[in-house]
């Protein structure tokens, strides 16, 4: 029987404009539930969720931040400890997409240099109100070399997948950092990790 509930602890952060659905994304991921009433997050909340990736139990501690403009200075002080950051915009809100650049700058200034980033275009269930095309999301992500996904907390699209992919990216780095006898071995390990990728999603994302 396992002696530990988890093998690794990853700290993730959700940022983005107010109202893009950060809290809903977290709520969907942690409680598999959705509520459409908007309650602005006035502070920093966190939830725990343990996932299994490549046979490792990974405990994700996910911090949900207040998106309101006036809190930006304060919320940036929470970036430092994060190993992964989800940058969320709302596909029905042009401004929230434009601000992605600003948020990215914020990350550059305040987060760890090697933080894993991912851009999420949320509310993709509301296609009739869509203003930001998927292409634009993809291209800004490509431009900055960041992962991208369109999600819907309401329709439960890509939520689990997004977190698992981000966690996996961090796992890649973490295992790369493990002491190895020689560089060849590291290279081999990483190749191995890549091959495993497809199968392990199933592992984590099947509920």
């Amino acid at each position: 029987m396992a002696k530990k509930t988890y093998d690794l602890l990853f700290k993730l952060l959700l940022i983005g404009d107010s109202g893009v659905g950060k809290t809903c994304i977290l709520f969907r991921f942690s409680d598999d539930a959705f509520t459409s009433t908007f309650i602005s997050t006035i502070g920093i909340d966190f939830k725990i969720k343990t996932v299994e990736l490549r046979g490792k139990k990974i405990k994700l501690q996910i911090w949900d931040t207040a998106g309101q403009e006036r809190f930006h200075t304060i919320t940036t002080s929470y970036y430092r400890g994060a190993m992964g950051i989800m940058l969320v915009y709302d596909i029905t809100n042009e401004k929230s997409f434009e601000n992605i650049v600003k948020w990215l700058r914020n990350i550059d200034e305040h987060a760890n240099e090697d933080v894993e980033k991912m851009i999420l275009g949320n509310k993709c269930d509301m296609d009739e109100k869509r203003i930001v095309s998927k292409d634009r999301g993809e291209s800004i992500a490509r431009e900055h070399g960041i992962r991208f996904m369109e999600t819907s907390a309401k329709a439960n699209v890509n939520i689990e997948k997004a977190f698992c992919e981000l966690a996996e990216a961090i796992l890649d780095k973490t295992s790369g950092r493990e002491p190895a006898e020689n560089t060849e071995r590291v290279a081999f390990d990483r190749r191995g990790a890549g091959q495993e990728k497809q199968a392990s999603y199933k592992n984590c994302c099947s509920t």
Partner: protein, 842 residues
């Protein structure tokens, strides 16, 4: 109550109860009496598709400000068992009964913010029940309270650890919680499969095996057993073996065993253990060998001095699938009268046989199932005068020492033995089935026994083997069908995943939580030199106690320097609330400049944001707002000269605009009116100018300073509202409070130059308002000097204020500012220089 406010409360309740199609029919306010408090309860009658329920809501505050102030205390289905007893109303209480055998809930009505009185609430509940009943008669199936299931989440489903909540034990976290949950749900992934265990024991009387085959003892079952546990005693009785506590396995016996096992299956020896005469061997069917995941051996000697191995026990501990099993072979003390010694030997073996594991020592009792085999040496008590028929087994068993001791619970507690249907196994003349015919004429006894302890063990056979005759004991054997716990991997994986979720949920639900009355604190209007306080309540309505603290932000401060927060840390037990006080300490001439930099431009920039941190929980941001009402204090002389109306009539935005449009010619006056008013007032009483300016600035906290402030800010035509000491202090504050000192940007130069000419030339380079103020001041100071004031003291007071300003820059020593002032004031040409260069008109 204002209907809109009532609607607002209703809306909060609707949201909290997540009502969609359900209707709130009535709300009634009451309270309950509990052991040490009288909590408020809102009773809410809700209808959903023809079924009704009364919600008893607990409130953090009344009226509720936030949804989170409301929690569900209880839900009563208005079914036919429900009754609301109005008779007791007169004694100011009413009862709610939900089922005839369930407790009665007492509520006490209180005057309500909601308009309902008890009678109308009561009427509505009764008519709801009538409606329910008549509907039920029509169609019983349609009356479903299933809509209430959703609320179970609120009460039952939250993984509340009651003991942690009431403080009787710490919250279990992480690993232990995980194990706890996994164990709790064991039944879901455990299946039991039956294994056949053969246990045999034989005291061989110190002789090697002379039997042709042991098959007549070992191969007793039709189908081959899965496990063999074979125990021998007196394998070697030599003094040498005893002295050496010999533990070498006698392989001839092992070969003999293997040869005698059931022939229809392939067995392998799992492990054997020996201590002098006692030997225990475990054989396992080859095809189930892999299910044994662990085995260890142990032994305990209880012979002479409790160290010699002529008596004692050997044991094997093993795990088969998920069941921990222990086999013990023991040889206890001999002789008819040694009952207690035998009991003690048992206790010693139980205590001293331990199996080393990574984190702990496992003892015999730490197993799911225990099989105890051996020559236990208990005899049959002989009752004097009673002639015993040796064939009367039932009669003999009545006097069996072991059964008697077990009944008295002196030994083998909770062990069981199968019914004995065979003859006593001791003592025979070797080679025969005859009881001892030697001189000793030992009485026959069931020395050799097989006991077991544990669940799911079924005895199939228990017998001795008469035809094996080489020893003075007959071998005994027992066959059991044993239910072994097996993990269903698929089910286990699912439960495991589920448990992870449960533990995550448990952890999420058990975050300490604090609710905050409001997250925006508004000081409304903030003025120079005024102190204000604001209070707000934080409360813990969660089931765990919560430690909180206001987090330090940049510069290790929890708030800006003009605020104070009290208390900054604390603990809130469940149900506690606490008032947090935020004090605006007031702005003075030393901090107003810095403050203005923050509020500049007005707008909706918060004055500060506090971070209320709940230990192991979330952070709550508390925004402090307030509107600064501008005053002349803190503004630069240049700006004050650009105003064309009293500063009180400007907004911060307008002043900001004024400052930015710094074209040179737009000064409306040569020197700020505020300065002029003060100097003018002071000059009027110049005859008595002694004791007006003080080095210690003792009037800086004077109560009438704010009157002077308002007088200046409104360009008042009223008489000066205070005395000249306060006017003098106001003048100093006015000069001191801007971000830059009056003599900026030449302050450094003035301090290091002795030449009056050079200084004068730079004075002329000051901005006109600054230059005019400076020269006016010089003239004023010369004037009051002539009335007997000490010029040294004046130079020190003003030097600090106009050269250094409010800055505490190291290296600006007081003396140097004073020296500069003196140098300038005492120069013979200063009066004419001032008169010549002061600008009288704009």
């Amino acid at each position: 109550m204002d209907p809109s406010i009532e609607n607002d409360h209703l809306e909060k309740i609707r949201r909290r109860l997540r009502l969609r199609n359900e209707q709130i029919l009535s709300i009634f306010e009451s309270y309950q009496k509990t052991s040490n408090e009288n909590p408020n309860r809102l009773l809410v009658l809700v209808e959903s598709n023809g079924t009704f329920a009364v919600f008893s809501l607990a409130l953090l505050q009344l009226p509720p400000h936030y949804e989170s102030d409301i929690s569900i205390d209880a839900i009563y289905c208005v079914n036919s068992f429900f009754s609301i007893n109005a008779e007791v109303k007169n004694s100011m209480t009413f009862e709610i009964v939900t089922l005839s055998d369930s407790p009665t809930f007492h509520y006490y009505p209180i005057p309500s913010i909601f308009k309902t009185d008890f009678d109308s609430f009561h009427r509505q509940v009764i008519s709801a029940q009538e409606a329910f009943k008549s509907r039920q008669e029509l169609d019983a199936a349609s009356n479903s309270f299933s809509w209430l299931n959703e609320y179970k989440v609120d009460k039952d489903f939250i993984a509340i650890d009651v003991k942690a909540a009431n403080g009787t034990r710490p919250l279990s976290k992480g690993v232990s919680k995980f194990q706890e949950e996994l164990k709790k749900r064991e039944q879901e992934y455990i299946t039991y499969s039956d294994y056949t265990f053969y246990c045999g024991t034989w005291n061989v009387n110190g002789k090697g095996c002379t039997e042709h085959s042991l098959r007549s003892w070992l191969a007793k079952t039709t189908s081959p057993p899965d496990f063999y546990a074979i125990a021998l005693q007196e394998v070697d009785l030599s003094a040498k073996a005893i002295a050496m506590n010999d533990s070498k396995i006698d392989q001839t016996w092992i070969r003999k065993f293997l040869d005698g096992l059931h022939s229809e299956a392939a067995y392998e020896e799992l492990v054997s253990v020996r201590l002098v005469g006692m030997m225990l061997s475990i054989f396992v069917k080859q095809d189930i060998r892999q299910h044994v995941t662990r085995y260890t051996v142990s032994s305990a000697a209880t012979g002479v001095f409790n160290v010699m191995g002529n008596k004692g026990g050997v044991a094997v501990s093993l795990t088969l699938n998920m069941t921990d099993i222990c086999f013990v072979c023991s040889h206890l003390a001999a002789h008819m009268d040694q009952i207690e010694r035998r009991n003690l030997d048992y206790a010693e073996i139980m205590k001293r046989c331990t199996f080393d594991e990574v984190f702990r020592k496992r003892t015999i009792k730490d197993h799911d199932q225990i099989f105890w085999l051996g020559d236990l040496n208990y005899r049959i008590n002989e009752i004097p005068g009673q002639i015993v028929d040796r064939r009367d087994i039932a009669g003999l068993l009545k006097n069996d020492q072991l059964l008697q001791e077990m009944r008295k619970r002196n030994v083998f507690n909770d062990f069981e033995e199968g019914p004995i249907t065979f003859n006593p196994t001791y003592k025979y003349d070797p080679g025969t089935d005859q009881y001892d015919s030697s001189e000793k004429m030992r009485a026959p006894a069931w020395c050799d026994r097989i006991l077991r302890k544990g669940d799911r063990i079924q005895l199939i056979l228990y017998d001795n083997v008469m035809e094996i005759r080489q020893s003075d004991h007959k071998p005994v054997y027992a066959v059991f069908s044993v239910g072994i716990k097996t993990k269903d991997d698929k089910k286990y994986k699912r439960v495991h995943e589920d448990v992870l979720k449960t533990v995550d949920k448990y952890e999420n639900d058990n975050q300490p939580q604090i609710s905050v009355e409001k997250t925006e604190i508004d000081f409304n209007e903030i003025r120079f030199n005024e102190r204000l306080t604001r209070d707000f309540t934080i409360a813990n309505s969660h089931h765990l106690s919560a430690n909180f603290s206001f987090k330090e932000k940049e510069e290790q401060q929890i708030c800006k320097k003009w605020f104070k927060v009290e208390p900054t840390t604390g603990t809130l037990l469940t149900g506690d609330s606490l008032i947090i006080r935020i004090t605006f300490k007031g702005l003075d001439s030393r901090n107003i400049g810095e403050f203005l930099k923050i509020v500049k431009g007005g707008g909706s920039v918060p004055l500060d944001i506090l971070v209320l941190h709940v230990q192991d929980g979330r952070d709550i941001f508390i925004t402090i707002n307030g509107e600064y009402i501008p005053s002349c204090f803190g503004f630069d002389m240049d700006l004050l000269c650009r105003t064309d109306r009293p500063i009180a009539e400007y907004s911060l935005e307008q002043l900001d605009e004024l400052e930015k449009s710094s074209a040179k010619c737009d000064f409306k006056v040569t020197m700020p009116r505020e300065i002029f008013f003060l100097i003018d007032y002071l000059s009027a009483s110049v005859e008595s100018m002694k004791d007006v300016f003080f080095l210690d600035r003792k009037h800086s906290k004077h109560h009438s300073l704010n009157l002077v402030r308002d007088w200046l800010d409104s360009w008042s035509r009223q008489d000066f509202p205070s005395n000249k000491q306060v006017a003098a202090e106001a003048l100093l504050m006015l000069l001191e409070s801007p971000n830059q000192p009056l003599l900026h940007p030449f302050e450094e130069l003035f301090l290091s130059t002795e030449s009056f000419e050079v200084i004068s030339s730079y004075v002329l380079k000051l901005s006109p308002p600054k230059r005019n103020v400076f020269l006016h001041l010089c003239m004023f100071l010369k004037e009051i000097e002539s009335k007997g004031n000490n010029i040294n003291e004046l130079a020190m007071i003003f030097g600090n204020v106009i050269v250094k300003g409010r800055r505490q820059v190291p290296g600006y020593r007081d003396g140097r500012c004073q020296l500069f002032m003196l140098r300038f004031l005492l120069n013979k040409d200063v009066a004419s220089f001032a008169v010549e260069n002061v600008q009288m008109e704009c």
